[in-house]
Subunit: 149 residues, 4 copies
């Protein structure tokens, strides 16, 4: 048996493939760093194309990326053949994202058959490690062929 | 007296200038459609660079743009010389953003000296007019020279 | 055929009966005012037992009641034999609830098979009509016999 | 010097006194368990007067209490002579609150001059220790004599 055929590896491969299909993640320069069981990390950097009016990273960049981290964290725990849709999220922005490199972490805190609840955090990595934003998100899990919720 | 010098026109000019400095809004192809008193509309379109894994517009695109609409709606009611920072927002995603053109509307529902509460909506305009997402946001108003909240 | 046997009347009766079983609604003195299709109104009043430290109605009172209004609005649109559970809600508090009588209104803005999205508002009715709080809520719809989400 | 006169003890006394003035906390049977620096714990129990239609503790009970825990956590870090108002909160409900005793914990995750961001958790303590709800809240800090935000 090929170790790449375990359910765990299949889930990771599916998430990497899905992430690669998200053109917006490429536009944002986001990189999938780690896919754990119910936990996903994504890295990204300051870029001249992604700023708000004061020259900081736009809050929407961090939000989009940590939403993806939460969604893939949910997908990592969903049955094979499922898709995950974001129902809602709420984010608090603790300080301007003035740094150079960042990391978004999404984690499942409640895994249900149809609904998963996730928490996300966005950290500035350099020049000074610190928390810049939080997310609380609800994901809907559906079989690929099912109708939309 | 030049009609362009009214406080109202000064606020509109300030918002247009600020919007133009947001490189992320340009990256998203967002266009400032209307600046009212406590109400701002921004238009945007489906683009190959802005998609999620199923080919729909990424939820983060709509979120970033409706956050800007809410922030500028707050700025339109703030005293001259203020800046507006997003403290937090919460969005519900009602259906996949499968359309071609969209409009985000931000409105102030409570204007305070330090805190403004806004509600946002994202509509698909074509091919079928319908609501795709909501936002409830809190903005912090500060004098430009003041320390961060 | 008895007009009380229409699906519409059955839904209203079910909601009135469910509301009567919520002992917490009685503790709060809440009264079911109106059950529409996807819209529910509940009235309540200032009471010495329901205050916060400055003598205003506690924010938790308004929140609990508008959550019920949203939940029953969802139930009014759900198939017969369903139950509705609150997945999450977010509320903004626009001003202290200093009034004497209040009304909470919950409305469904997106009705899905498994998930409904609702918006709620809490108004002060007397002495001065005005909006005091908002709610954005997600409800899960399940058949009575189904396992929890 | 009396050790009861330290700023730390003054803050604790102020919070205990404020909590005692919240008649709604008494109506809910809530008990202030611990006041730390930026962290507050409140205990409560199932009661026949506090239930929803299926006989579980009403979500509004947990919400009101964890909001108070977050608010007092913020107050514990605010300058002497400040008051704290809830601007907004968002809660996810992970499972029905079917237990007998509960604990709500509020913690400050970002302390600013005017705005504090808090996270709350509600745990069932008996019969089975487990997380039942989360809260993400924003608090406004004002000097007692200042006008409302």
């Amino acid at each position: 048996m090929n170790p790449d055929d375990t359910p765990r590896q299949i889930a990771i491969d599916k998430i990497r493939s899905s992430f690669a299909r998200q053109s917006f993640m490429q536009t944002l320069g986001a990189e999938l760093l780690e896919v754990g069981n119910g936990r996903v990390r994504i890295g990204f950097s300051r870029d001249e194309r992604l700023l708000q009016q004061h020259g900081f990273l736009h809050a929407g960049v961090a939000t989009a990326i940590v939403d993806s981290a939460c969604g893939y964290a949910a997908l990592s725990m969903a049955p094979v053949g499922s898709e995950v849709l974001t129902i809602e999220f709420k984010s608090n922005f603790l300080r301007p994202a003035s740094g150079l490199t960042f990391e978004a972490i999404g984690e499942v805190i409640k895994s249900g058959k149809s609904v998963m609840v996730c928490e996300g955090k966005v950290f500035e990595v350099s020049p000074s490690p610190r928390l810049v934003a939080t997310m609380s998100a609800t994901m809907f899990v559906q079989a690929v062929s099912a109708s939309h919720a």
